[in-house]
């Protein structure tokens, strides 16, 4: 095979067996790879009603056919499993250098099943896989673990690992690779911890075989030349200030989530914006493999209260730990971000859970003696301390480690949790960004911006603007973006480049550029229709998992404060999110029943019956 390596490694952690299996070419074409291959394997292997922490829950790491090929931003891999946070499927994605090295070992994907009796790590050296003891690594943070593993395997190997949060099954524990990059969401690190799997270490060799190398190179040159021309005079905002530059946009559109999602504007926004990050803490940009953007931020904080060094924070972290907690101290936000990376936790859920706790305290539902300290809006020191306690499940951190929904529910007010399917939202307020609300509610993994990101057309005017306050017409475009995201995630690309540069410049966002890359790389001879149908197949395969696990329309929900309470401030003042209207349209556009279940005719057409 070309583009694909043609092999899947199955690792049984209970018995210690590592078995190579062939990747079926027709499965590869139908599901592309990455996220698509992951859901296909998960549907085959997992009872959707099973427990996320059961040894039977597979954890799948999968690259895409464009990962490591040199296609711009072709640097990504996916982690698929049943989430302990949501009870739904999750697909958490990360870039850096690990995914390319992983694919160069000769495997498209690794599927872990079972659970080891004692801590282990998987070491794949140029195609040879073995499980090794990891007792000496248990308890170490992600940076220490990475350094130790590079010493005992190979200095040029790449590492993905969990920290103490994953070991202690914090429900939103991440898997960190290359120290700073995160498969962050939905507790994939907790599932890895439940299997006693501390790390995956890979060392590959050679290049990814391409079906038509000349065609690939010619198209790559054309795409990169166009990108260079477009950004020569005006570099991308992502390159200049990283994702944190988005604060300027969300604040001025009135959709910067603030005070646990009570409002969409924050008075202290200029202190936490990407421009400040660049000015105060940036050491240099960093880029994932093959990326011409370089949105990563290597930063250093000298303030003795919050001193540290690492990567980030990203926009989502700045919203969750900043405006959402009414904290305008960027040093504290950056420090809490470093702690999340080192202990291995998702920054979005961490920040959103602390903000939820702040509101529970303010309203008198959560006694401060439970917290063990004062917890007021804007308390930067509390943010840092509670983040550390959560990663170690110390004191009140043990309650925060369950996420905002379970915390708010414990104190009798689940309506205060900013979640869909029990997962916390990223940083775009749906009262002033209607389609974002629809995307959160219908994302298979719960609150997420990465499973179809309407901020592109509602806020960033990419490929064309749509009025963020209007709900009419949003279902069709949201579906198109979700299908495109499924293709991007499965091919091994990053949304930051692919939406702008590899899709049609209209609101149908047909994956025209991805099509050319895939055909040159794989020789699979996709038509545009086949590729778009593959995106739709992946979304429906995920929905099937959810349907079997009991999810219906009632779970495609947003908290009442977004659908019933008018926004109190900013440009969206007076607006609510019209989710029910959009859901009616959306199910119709998708070919699902009004209860959110895919119809048999559609499943038959997609080969899913």
């Amino acid at each position: 095979m070309y583009g694909w390596m043609g092999k899947i490694l199955r690792v049984d952690l209970t018995t210690g067996a590592c078995i190579e299996c062939a990747l079926d070419p027709s499965v590869a074409k139908d599901y592309i790879g990455g996220r698509g291959l992951g859901i296909h394997l998960l549907n085959q292997e997992m009872d959707p009603n099973g427990d996320a922490f059961s040894p039977e829950n597979p954890m799948i790491m999968a690259t895409g056919p464009l990962t490591g090929t040199g296609a711009p931003t072709g640097a990504r891999y996916m982690v698929m499993t049943k989430s302990p946070l949501t009870g739904a499927v999750t697909c958490s994605n990360s870039g850096g250098m690990f995914p390319t090295e992983f694919k160069r070992t000769g495997f498209d994907a690794i599927m872990f099943k079972g659970a080891s009796k004692s801590p282990v790590y998987l070491w794949i050296d140029q195609g040879k896989a073995e499980l090794r003891p990891a007792d000496h690594l248990w308890g170490k943070d992600t940076h220490q673990t990475t350094d130790l593993l590079l010493t005992e395997t190979h200095s040029k190997a790449k590492v993905a690992c969990i920290g103490p949060a994953g070991e202690k099954q914090v429900l939103f524990a991440s898997i960190m690779n290359d120290k700073h990059r995160a498969a962050g969401r939905s507790g994939v690190g907790a599932v890895m911890g439940s299997k006693n799997l501390k790390a995956v270490v890979v060392r590959g060799k050679g290049r990814i075989p391409l079906a038509d190398s000349d065609r690939f190179k010619a198209f790559n040159k054309k795409i990169l030349d166009t990108f260079k021309d477009d950004t020569r005079d005006t570099p991308l905002g992502l390159t200049v200030n990283g994702t944190a530059g988005v604060v300027t946009a969300t604040q001025n559109f009135g959709v910067l989530p603030t005070k646990n999602w009570q409002q969409g504007t924050f008075d202290g926004w200029e202190k936490i914006d990407g421009g400040q990050l660049t000015k105060r803490f940036l050491k240099k940009n960093s880029a994932c493999y093959g990326c011409p953007i370089g949105c990563g931020r290597l930063t250093k904080v000298d303030d003795p209260r919050f001193a540290g060094e690492g990567e980030g924070p990203e926009y989502e972290t700045v919203y969750a730990m900043g405006s959402n907690c009414m904290i305008d101290d960027l040093a504290a936000i950056t420090k809490a971000n470093y702690i999340c990376n080192e202990l291995g936790m998702d920054t979005i859920t961490m920040g959103a859970t602390i903000a939820c706790a702040m509101e529970l305290v303010e309203r008198g539902y959560l006694p401060e003696d439970q917290v063990g300290r004062s917890l007021n809006w804007g308390d930067a020191e509390a943010l840092v301390e509670l983040t550390r306690m959560t990663g170690n499940r110390e004191g009140f951190g043990d309650q925060l480690a369950e996420g905002s929904y379970r915390l708010a529910d414990r104190y009798g007010h689940p309506e205060l949790a900013p979640v869909s399917k029990k997962q916390e939202f990223p940083g775009y307020e749906p009262r002033g960004s209607q389609a974002m609300g629809l995307a959160y509610a219908t994302s298979p993994i719960g609150g997420s911006h990465m499973r179809g990101d309407p901020a592109y057309f509602e806020l960033f005017s990419v490929p064309k603007p749509m009025d963020p306050h209007q709900w009419e017409g949003k279902a069709k475009v949201t579906k198109a973006f979700q299908d495109l995201s499924a293709i991007i995630d499965s091919a091994g690309l990053c949304i930051f480049f692919a939406v702008r540069n590899l899709a049609a410049k209209d609101l149908g966002v047909a994956p025209t550029g991805i099509l050319e890359y895939l055909n040159a790389a794989t020789g699979a001879d996709y038509t545009l229709e086949e590729l778009m149908q593959a995106g739709e197949r992946i979304i429906n395969a995920e929905r099937l998992f959810l349907t079997k696990a009991g999810f219906t329309r009632k779970d495609d929900s947003l908290p009442d404060r977004l659908t019933q309470t008018p926004a109190p401030t900013g440009p969206a003042k007076g607006c609510v999110c019209h989710l029910d209207n959009m859901l009616d349209d959306y199910y119709q556009v998708r070919g699902w029943t009004q209860n959110g279940v895919p119809r048999n005719a559609l499943l038959d057409q997609l080969g899913l019956l």
């Binding site: 905002g237 992502l238 200049v240 300027t248 901020a455 960033f460 900013g570």
Partner: protein, 76 residues
Amino acid sequence: MHINIKLYGAMKKYAPGDTTQFELIIESGASLKDILRLFSIPEKGYVFLVNGRRIDKTSCFNEGDTLVLFPEISGG
């Protein structure tokens, strides 16, 4: 008629003086295009919002409107 102008990020370089947030007196019927011309701001490469909403460049202002300009941003 008075309008407020706020420039952020790289758009600050188009400020007429040291301050990047200022009030401007304009003739009734002046459009966004007129304002852009006044400050030699190019046609592309940034976002402009009036009271937090996108407007057409030929739209006119109302008394007290706030015009915000910032560089194109995406990501998340």
